[in-house]
Amino acid sequence: MDKAANWQDIKIDFSRVVEANKGLATVVKKEVGDHLSGKRFSILALLVFVTCLGALYIAASTIRTSAGQGELDFVFLLLFTTSGASMPFSFLSFISLLGPLIGLTLGFDAINGERDRRTLSRILSQPIYRDALINGKFIAGVIVIAIIIFGLGFLVAGLGLLITGIPPTLDELFRLIAYLTLSVIYISFWLALSILFSILFRQTSTSALAGVALWLFLAVFFTLLAGMVADGIYPVQDTSDADQVLANTRTEQLISRVSPAYLYSEAVSTIMNPEVRAMGPVLLEQAYGTLKGALSFGQSLLLIWPHVVGLIAAMLICFGLAYISFMRQEIRA
């Protein structure tokens, strides 16, 4: 009896959800179409595609040369994580470097571009709620990101399979999917950020520049900054004791983790490398007596769960800010 009543409630709520999101599907469809047919997207996809194929090629040849030298576990994952001497980038590092650029490109002119083209007031005078536009743009962006990342990931996996001839285990497949999903979330964070900038700044060039500046700062300078701050708080000399060194390292890591870029790279290198058992400094006495071996997928996931939550939160906070500022903004310039 109770259960039936609950179902009734859910039904009503669902129709309300549909009512409140009138036009959302239309906006999503149009935006996805725009992205996929745009020149900007083609250029970017080509760039990422070529670099990732390059990374795959290097990885495959490196694996081949080192194949005879010892036992190789998780060959399939190595396709994504191995970098060579001639090119110090793996698939993983390429995505973590270029991924934000995808997000920024998809979103930097989301709202101020509509303003520039003078389409904003025309679209919003149609019978849709104002948030349908921004929700639609964000969802469309996430869909496109998912298409790129999953397409690319499975393409590299397929080609790797052909090159190495070693099929992935189920565990490896899960790891790959988790990695790709995490990448989509991370890039969506950048998408949300660039949409926020597109609302805060009236010029598309300003919002693009702001996005790129923040990307460079977080991707390159932030870890340097974290190290400097940590050195300032806990200076380490040759004579420093273990506590001091440990405190320094921990502080540095703590500060670095404020940056979603660091959070992401730490999480993906853990999920794609089953041998990683802990993040951060491990003392010899802690490692003493541990058995050599890889973690299972579930354990690795558990290890990066705070990162996953942190990235989702960062994405939602950015989108929330964008949402609020868009809803409060005057339509008129």
């Binding site: 009138k22 036009g23 239309t26 906006v27 469809k29 149009k30 725009d34 047919s37 745009g38 083209r117 003078r118 389409t119 007031s121 025309r122 679209i123 919003l124 005078s125 149609q126 019978p127 849709i128 709620y129 005057e330 339509i331 008129r332």
Partner: protein, 322 residues
């Protein structure tokens, strides 16, 4: 929900403030069903702000607007599905064709595909763009965009259309076609149309009623005849006079007539400010003195001068206060 109100649009003490500045100041606007209403005012008078509040795209600071019995800030979807809005300097997605842009509008209005197809074809034909639908909007001229904007409104088939500065940046021929179309939309289809403009003589021929908005205040509203009446009954009128021979004595003769308060020469034309309608007395006097009037007109009879008159009055008023 729709009330039995006579008015399609009714605003009650509608205000919008940006900081200290009042863009719209206690506006009480009433527009009946089925008429063409011209909202006239200089740039920055608050016309667009008023329109955005009517559409629920901007929240009023205080006061209330009602469109067909709905409050746009409470029921924006009901209002927006009923109202077609042509923004000033309307924009489209350049990389899409004209038809694709219209299809997007149709989809946002949840019009079924084949119905949308039919309406788009019809609308494009009606605005005179029957063959341009397949071209990208990026290739369109300014006038074609404006036409596409009207087609965009027509696809929605609204009972009420708001046009913000529709004649801006179009060539004279295009303006005539546009005005004819507006007339057609009102008379044939029975739609109510609100046009905002700062160019009076252009929309004079299509408006049933006009309202003059200056500094966010509606300072006059009514039919053009009513506005004229208001103007003629005021303390002074202005007469334009040309006569042959146009010598200095002409001024003296005019000054002698009872009711003339001020005379100014404007090249070969005389401007007479008078407290009553002296045309009859003036002509008789002139002919008696051997002058032949070649031009005599009462200023304030065209809407332009009505508007100028109101505008100047307000400017003087505000000029003193600021």
């Amino acid at each position: 929900m729709a009330t039995g109100s006579n008015y399609l649009i009714e605003t009650v003490d509608l205000c919008k403030r940006y900081g200290d500045r009042a863009a719209v100041d206690n506006l009480n606007l009433q527009v009946e069903h089925g008429i063409v209403y011209g909202l006239l005012g200089p740039n920055g008078a608050g016309k667009t702000t008023t329109i955005l509040m009517l559409l629920g795209l901007t929240e009023p600071t205080s006061g209330k607007a009602m469109v067909n019995g709905y409050d746009p800030s409470r029921n924006p979807l009901q209002v927006k599905s009923m109202v077609g809005y042509l923004p000033d300097n309307v924009g489209f997605y350049d990389e899409m064709t004209g038809e694709e842009n219209l299809f997007y509008t149709a989809a946002l209005n949840r019009i079924a595909q084949d119905e949308a197809q039919r309406r788009i074809k019809q609308a494009l034909k009606r605005v005179g763009l029957p063959d341009a639908g397949h071209r990208k909007v990026g290739e369109y001229s300014r006038g074609m965009r404006q036409r596409l904007g009207i087609a965009d409104v027509l696809v929605k088939d609204p009972k009420f259309i708001i046009m913000d500065e529709p004649t801006l940046g179009i060539d004279p021929e295009g303006i005539q076609e546009l005005l004819a179309l507006i007339k057609d939309l009102a008379k044939e289809d029975g739609r109510t149309i609100l046009i905002s403009s700062h160019l009076l003589h252009q929309i004079q021929q299509v408006c049933d009623k006009v309202g003059i908005l200056v500094q966010g205040k509606l300072i006059a509203s009514g039919t053009i005849d009513e506005l004229e009446q208001q103007l003629v009954s005021q303390e002074h009128l202005e007469l334009e006079l040309k006569a042959v021979p146009g010598d200095e004595k002409l001024g003296d003769i005019c000054a002698a007539i009872d009711g003339v308060s001020k005379i100014t020469w404007n090249n070969d034309m005389l401007l007479l400010e008078c407290s009553r309608d002296i045309r009859e007395a003036l002509v008789k006097e002139l002919i008696a003195k051997g002058y032949c009037p070649t031009h005599l007109s009462l200023r304030g009879v065209s809407l332009d001068s009505i508007y100028l008159r109101y505008f100047h009055k307000e400017e003087k008023y505000y000029g003193q206060s600021s």
